[in-house]
């Protein structure tokens, strides 16, 4: 990409009080998405050859990991220490903590294992808020309709209904755990309207909603008597029963001592999050370091069905600059508060509160048609017009978006004086492991909650539905996982690994790559010895 207007020229041209023309006529959304959204890039998608989704479309880099060799086989299990628990939760973000807390409330002995530190997650970075239909003119039904429409009607209505109905109760539960929210002077929870919402429904804690949620849940987990936490402990493989049909535990390693450990359990809850750190299609990502899609790989190998594997969310407003924050988000809340998107010519080009995929495609169109702002050969973006917002509502940025202000201040950028240069960034995995309303996958004994699961957000997630999703289904799976009162596994095997290995051999697939990924290559430096 060498087209676009150079940064210095665009900056000289920019004025926060310039007269903005009217929005261009709305374009054909389908055509816009088909031409510019990264999901539709040529060669981005392949067909899966083996496993429960053989024949389905899947993003290319993900397909390679799903159809790869495992790290361990039976010989590795001999002599490995075994821990028995009622419920094993894999993942230490919001979904994992909610599931662990709910299972513990129901009386289970819970082990929560997390790859990095408890709380290292995408949850902690969620700035915007959490959706719940609590305003007088809003309803659960409208929440369901908005969510299905935003997801291009690819979502499962049963899952969407379950989540939307949980909304108000989820807020009550979070407040009981000790989470604070922004209030109006009358004491109501303050709501905002963001992209794809027909009415204000976004409840928030300034622009630190995810941090507030995560630190409260993290503390609740640490303090809970029935929950044990293992940090720096990635799962390298699940365990199955003799027939390879049921999930009965997992094999974990340690980033600290590289030793394997077996956990035997009645139920496993996958809460491993997304895969932004695979940098699909070469995009930067907003995700935390551990988001490498491990849960998808583990679930697929044990036979679980996945869905929408070719649909990812690229958040419209990732920072392009400064470089150490490349790909990191400017919350949609800033647009919800009134900030506009402006191209290098000083024109608006899209209704900023359209769903994220539409706004993303429109930005990529501006960049590719020469109306972007060019930093160098690789980097082209558009303006997020924060100075105009500051002119219209003085003090708003400092008061409502302290997180944004703190991050940019360190880099010597003041969004009140200078517009932010942004470009879409890989943000969210829309699909994932197929679940029912209890978070149960198609494999007995295995649950999946949060970003690793699929079917809720269709092919595009609305802002604020991720934080609701993780708590709603986290609690549901935590409760359901404790209902399994059998005597626990007699034998733990890797039968499912052998099964996939046979399928790969028969299909003549190369078995040179191993998965799960655990850490991105650039960060692996000796930490995770393959």
């Amino acid at each position: 990409m060498s087209n676009g207007i150079p940064l210095t020229e665009a900056l000289a041209r920019y004025r926060s009080d310039a007269e903005l023309g009217p929005l261009p006529e709305p374009v054909d959304v389908e055509a816009l998405l088909n031409t510019y959204h990264p999901d539709h890039l040529r060669d981005s998608v392949v067909k899966l050859t083996v496993g429960a989704n053989a024949g389905d479309s899947c993003q290319r880099e993900l397909a390679a990991l799903l159809q790869a060799e495992a790290f361990i086989d039976e010989a590795d299990l001999a002599g490995t220490p075994v821990t028995d628990v009622d419920v094993l939760v894999i993942g230490g973000g919001g979904a994992g903590c909610a599931a662990a807390l709910m299972a513990a409330e129901k009386g289970a002995r819970v082990l929560l294992a997390t790859k990095l530190r408890l709380g290292d997650s995408n949850t902690v970075m969620a700035e915007g808020g959490i959706q719940a239909a609590i305003e007088p003119d809003d309803s659960v039904q409208r929440h369901i309709q908005d969510t299905l429409r935003g997801g291009h009607h690819a979502g499962d209505p049963a899952l969407v209904s379950a989540m939307a109905e949980d909304g108000p109760e989820v807020l009550r539960w979070l407040i009981q755990q000790g989470m604070q929210f922004e209030q109006t002077t009358g004491g109501d929870l303050h709501t905002r309207r963001a992209g794809g919402m027909s009415t204000p429904r976004l409840v928030h804690c300034r622009d630190y909603t995810g941090l507030e949620m995560m630190r409260v849940l993290r503390e609740a987990v640490i303090q809970h008597r029935s929950i044990e936490v293992w940090e720096q402990s990635p799962v390298v493989e699940l365990l199955s029963n003799e027939t390879g049909q049921k999930c009965v535990g997992a094999v974990l390693t340690s980033l600290l001592d590289d030793r394997l450990r077996i956990v035997r359990t009645r139920s496993v809850i996958l809460a491993t999050g997304g895969l932004g750190r695979l940098h699909l299609n070469g995009f930067p990502t907003s995700n935390h370091l551990g988001a490498t899609g491990d849960g998808l790989v583990l679930a697929y190998r044990i036979g679980a069905s996945l869905c929408e594997l070719d649909s990812f969310q690229y958040h419209p407003t990732g920072l392009l600059h400064p470089s150490h924050l490349a790909g990191k988000l400017v919350t949609e809340g800033v647009r919800a508060a009134g900030a506009l998107l402006v191209n290098a010519l000083g024109e608006r080009f899209i209704d900023e509160l359209q769903p994220r995929d539409v706004v993303c495609a429109a930005i990529l169109r501006e960049c590719s048609e020469g109306r972007g702002i060019r930093v160098d050969e690789q980097r082209v973006g558009v303006w997020l017009d924060t100075p105009r917002l500051e002119r219209a509502q003085p003090g708003l940025l400092e008061k409502q978006f302290p997180n944004l202000m703190t991050r940019t201040r360190i880099a010597g950028v003041d969004p009140r004086a200078q517009p932010l240069l942004i470009h879409p960034t890989l943000h969210y995995q829309n699909g994932g492991v197929v679940i029912d309303v209890n978070g149960a996958t198609t494999v007995p004994g295995l649950y999946a909650v949060g970003e690793v699961s699929g079917g809720i957000h269709g092919r595009n997630r609305l802002m604020g539905n991720a934080l609701l999703d993780i708590i709603s289904f986290g609690r549901r799976a935590g409760a359901a996982a404790t209902s399994n009162r059998d005597r626990g596994p007699k034998k733990v095997t890797l039968e499912h690994v052998n099964r996939l290995r046979r399928e790969l051999t028969i299909a003549g697939m190369p078995m040179t790559q191993r998965s799960p990924q655990v850490l991105p290559d650039y960060a692996a430096g000796g930490a995770w010895d393959r």
């Binding site: 407040i175 755990q177 109501d188 008597r225 980033l255």
Partner: protein, 221 residues
Amino acid sequence: MTIKNPSASTADASQSVALTINGVAVNAHAGVTVVEAAWEGGVPRVTGVGCMEGVCGSCRIMLKRGKQVSVGLACQTFVENGAEVIFLPPASAPRHHYELNDFKDGWDIHERFQDIFPEAARCRHCHGCDVSCPKGIKVEEGVAQAAAGRFRDAGETFFECVMCELCDGACPELIAPAHVGLFSRRVTAHFHLRPPNLIHRLEELRQDKDKPGMTREEKDE
């Protein structure tokens, strides 16, 4: 503390900066953070990294520049010539234990607090916590507010806390300020946050459940 990066926007990437990370000599491009430098330099076992935008509190480091020693977050610290950086191990398990469900109501919360965090009243005003906080929180003031039973104010003081727990490590009285802050925030929500719009909707949904004959659409009309 965080090092300001005055050259972030204009950093000359060709300029090289020499420092050590966990004892390993690293040459890094100017303008990169310590996390990026550790990766580029192939420093082994740097797994205490999470969000890379300063909100998860994982990448705790100790930083020595000349004779000056400070602590901070690696993703918010830019490389400097001659700096010696050590990634700190994760904080040890908390020493103060409580479950909110054990509290009956808000009247005895001050008493409970003194049982759970008896050290909070013994602050010797050494400012170790204030100096160690990468977010510039007035930690000492927050602890004093909590010790005086002003939990709402204390919680607000700790608003930007990212739970890096560097203040816990800096406290000679073992007060665990980060957990004092979180306790203050949690009890404030748990006992005092009662929003009418949420409560009204919960009540409507409860009544809906009691009237199974009526669909939600009809109710909306």
